[in-house]
């Protein structure tokens, strides 16, 4: 195993831990914390998908991550606007 693969696996484990932390964050009482938590989950899942796609050579993981990043941010801004009261 080369050092790049080990570091990728370490990164994936770290982001899995962060996904659990973000899930806990999303379960807080206020609506905003739900939005913040889901936004964090979106980012971490995107990084995990790109990492897994790189390790196993699965090309469409990258496309899924791109869609997830774009739609996640659009959804976050939309929900935040609704939460604002406009």
């Amino acid at each position: 195993m080369d050092i790049l693969l080990i570091s990728k696996i370490f990164l994936l484990i770290a982001f899995c831990i962060f996904t659990l932390a973000a899930l806990r964050l999303a379960t807080h009482k206020s609506t905003t914390m739900g939005i913040v938590g889901v936004d964090a989950i979106t980012v971490s899942v995107s990084v995990i998908l790109v990492g897994l796609g790189g390790i196993y050579g699965i090309g469409f993981f990258r496309d899924i991550a791109l869609a997830l990043v774009l739609l996640g941010i659009v959804g976050t801004i939309a929900f935040a606007t609704v939460n604002r009261g406009d």
């Binding site: 770290a14 932390a21 980012v43 609704v82 939460n83």
Partner: protein
């Protein structure tokens, strides 16, 4: 001259740094005192660290397009969340949300709109004009064929 092995080493070091930062953020965001003032803004601020860590991770994993895209879009999302919280839920800092101190609705009253058309001189005239009985008299008329 940068050889591929040096590039791999730099990539690996950056990925390990990102992983360590991510673990520190995961622990820190859960240990943050929930009774603290403005804790939501603090959490959004902490997640800014993850945003940059994710950008570095995307670039190091060979996806610079995603990294640049997220680098541009992440501040908009963070600002939208903080702005939404301030105007929607933050009763400590936003005085408009405190009960009895609400902002007056910008929409005009219905009678003021009618008054502005000029058909009635003022709103009181509109209120005094009551045609409910006329309607009843019309509706109770007996119409025969002879008439």
């Amino acid at each position: 001259m940068i050889t591929p092995s040096i590039l791999n080493l730099i990539q690996s070091i950056l990925l390990i740094i990102v992983a360590i930062i991510t673990i520190i953020v995961s622990i820190g965001i859960l240990r943050l005192d929930k009774d603290m003032d403005n804790v939501v803004y603090a959490r959004i601020h902490i997640l800014g660290v993850i945003d940059i860590a994710a950008v570095i991770a995307f670039i190091c994993l060979g996806d610079p397009l995603l990294g640049v895209l997220y680098f541009i879009l992440a501040p908009f999302a963070a600002h939208a969340m903080a702005n939404g919280y301030f105007h929607g839920e933050d009763e400590k800092n936003n005085k408009n949300l405190v009960e009895g101190n609400e902002k007056k609705d910008d929409k005009k009253d219905f009678t003021e709109e009618i008054e502005s058309t000029g058909f009635y001189k003022n709103a009181n005239e509109f209120k005094e004009f009551d045609d409910s009985e006329d309607k009843i008299s019309i509706s109770t008329l007996k119409i025969t064929e002879d008439e």
